[in-house]
Amino acid sequence: MPVYSEKVMEHFMNPRNVGEIENPDGVGEVGNPVCGDMMTFYIKVKDNKLDDVKFKTFGCGAAIAVSSMVSEMAKGKTLEEAMKITPRSVADELEGLPKQKFHCSNLGAQALNKAIEDYLGKKKEGGKK
């Protein structure tokens, strides 16, 4: 068993915000089964803030804990603040990740970013009409 921090174990055993959002404002998907982890983030935006964040993850204990932590960190933040979440800040909040897991499983911030970009892209398109 990889040596995970207590915080990682806690989020893995009790992940927050698992699921999908119906009619989400943005969706971000990253990863592939070859490297072992896939994450999909769903967001709902209200007044430029992340009103709801949910995720689905295929992957190891670290991947699930990372997804849970990112969703918790992002919820309620403005889009600008949420965009500042990085793999490093997620790992820090989780009290560290095993070295070999840092790159492969730490995709949560990227997936969230993609979801926000998806939202911003759609908004732009909508604005053009």
């Binding site: 295929f58 190891c60 204990g61």
Partner: protein, 395 residues
């Protein structure tokens, strides 16, 4: 909490009788077997007795047994040592795609040293076709190394048939029998091989000890240079307590093999048949019949092995997985990929390996705790969501 150990492929526990046999050599009988005094004599006699016990288990002559520090060392020694000893004859070696890394990576090292390497493929059950071995042998082939049974999927390879091919072509044939020696009957004459690796912690002996059997007349380059221990083929003061333990474990394995196999096969058959009935979208990996008696391996679709393993551990069940995430290399099992499984499916690999202490209640317990764990992870899985929505993305 109930504790159920189902990872005997990683290591079996030490039998109390084996521990008892070892204890004097961790105490008063501490002598170096190379020494010519009473202390040396006691150690040497115990070590030679163990050599005879190990030889008897595989039908060999005691003097053909070389003690090593592990199955990994035995495989390194065999693959490199047998090839290097014949390099003036040729520089081509043949191994299967599903070898244990200790054999596969040794062959890769030979490649770096100027040898040519051919990998023999396997079918969907992980079986090597002897005809593929025949096709890969060339004029300058000096070594074929194919494992007796695969440690990840339990498949037993047609070693006797492959040996007929290597004999015809006059090529030295080594088999990594770490997963089989002490578990199922292994007889070197029946197999027809020239060299064979085994390890103590696979059949209730201690860790840190293994052996390599090399047929008389077959040349091997010594792995460790130094003194004349092990007939000058493996220098270094022998690990006498562990060797004594290996010998005792070999003796007990010979005595009790039939009843052990019956016990293990009963548990394995239950899990192989009942688990796929309890959980949808589960694939049995390895050969359905020709497999190790205590070995049940699966791939659970849409979820990843390490997460399953961790949740099983939280319920007291110890298993292993061949997923990328459980390996430090972060690559899915080379065995499952060689068998043609997709990466996504290989990520869901789960291996249960039974031992003498396991009971039918242990199977009941696994069948009780695993389905909710799989359910829970599938509820989190984007692959499962895709599958339930579109019916696509299975297997």
């Amino acid at each position: 909490m109930k504790k159920v150990y189902l990872d005997n492929a990683a290591t079996t526990p030490l039998l109390p009788e084996v521990r008892e046999a070892m204890l004097p050599f961790l105490g008063e009988d501490f002598g170096n077997p190379s020494c010519l005094h009473d202390w040396g004599d006691t150690a040497r006699e115990a070590m030679e007795n163990a050599r005879a016990q190990v030889a008897q288990l595989i039908g060999a002559d005691a003097e053909e047994i070389i003690f090593t520090a592990s199955g990994t060392e035995s495989n390194n020694f065999a693959v490199k040592g047998l090839a290097l000893a014949q390099q003036n004859k040729g520089k081509h070696v043949v191994v299967s795609a599903i070898e244990h890394f200790s054999a596969l990576h040794s062959a890769r090292t030979l490649e770096k040293w100027g040898f040519e390497l051919s990998l023999v493929p396997v079918d969907k059950y992980g079986v090597v076709n002897p005809e593929d071995v025949r096709r890969s042998i060339k004029k300058d082939t000096v070594l074929v190394s194919i494992m007796h049974a695969n440690n990840e999927v339990g498949t037993i390879e047609p070693i006797t048939e492959i040996a007929k091919v290597t004999k015809e072509r006059g090529v030295v044939f080594h088999t990594d029998a770490v997963a089989t020696v002490g578990t199922i009957p292994v007889d070197i004459e029946e197999l027809g091989v020239d060299a064979l690796s085994l390890a103590g912690n696979q059949f209730y002996g201690p860790k840190g000890v293994g052996a390599l059997w090399v047929r008389k007349g077959v040349r091997i380059l010594p792995f460790l240079d130094g003194g004349v221990q092990e007939g000058g083929r493996r220098a270094g003061t022998e690990n006498v307590p562990a060797i004594v333990g290996l010998g005792k474990a070999a003796e007990l394995a010979s005595l009790n093999m039939a009843s052990r196999i019956e016990h293990l096969a009963h548990l394995r058959n239950r899990l192989l048949t009942e688990l796929p009935n309890k959980i949808e979208h589960v694939v049995v990996t390895g050969h359905p019949q020709n497999r190790l008696p205590g070995h049940a391996s699966f791939c659970v679709e849409f979820i990843e092995g390490e997460a399953m393993l961790m949740l099983l551990n939280s319920r007291g069940v110890a298993v292993t997985s061949g997923s990328a995430c459980t390996s430090r290399a972060l690559k899915a099992s080379h065995v499952l990929i060689a068998m043609g499984l997709s990466h996504a499916l290989a990520q869901g690999s789960l291996l249960f390996s039974f031992g003498l202490d396991n009971t039918s209640e242990d199977i009941d317990y696994v069948l009780e705790v695993l389905p909710p764990i799989v359910d829970r992870l599938r509820q989190m899985s984007p692959l499962y969501a895709k599958f339930t929505k579109t019916g696509k993305g299975g297997k």
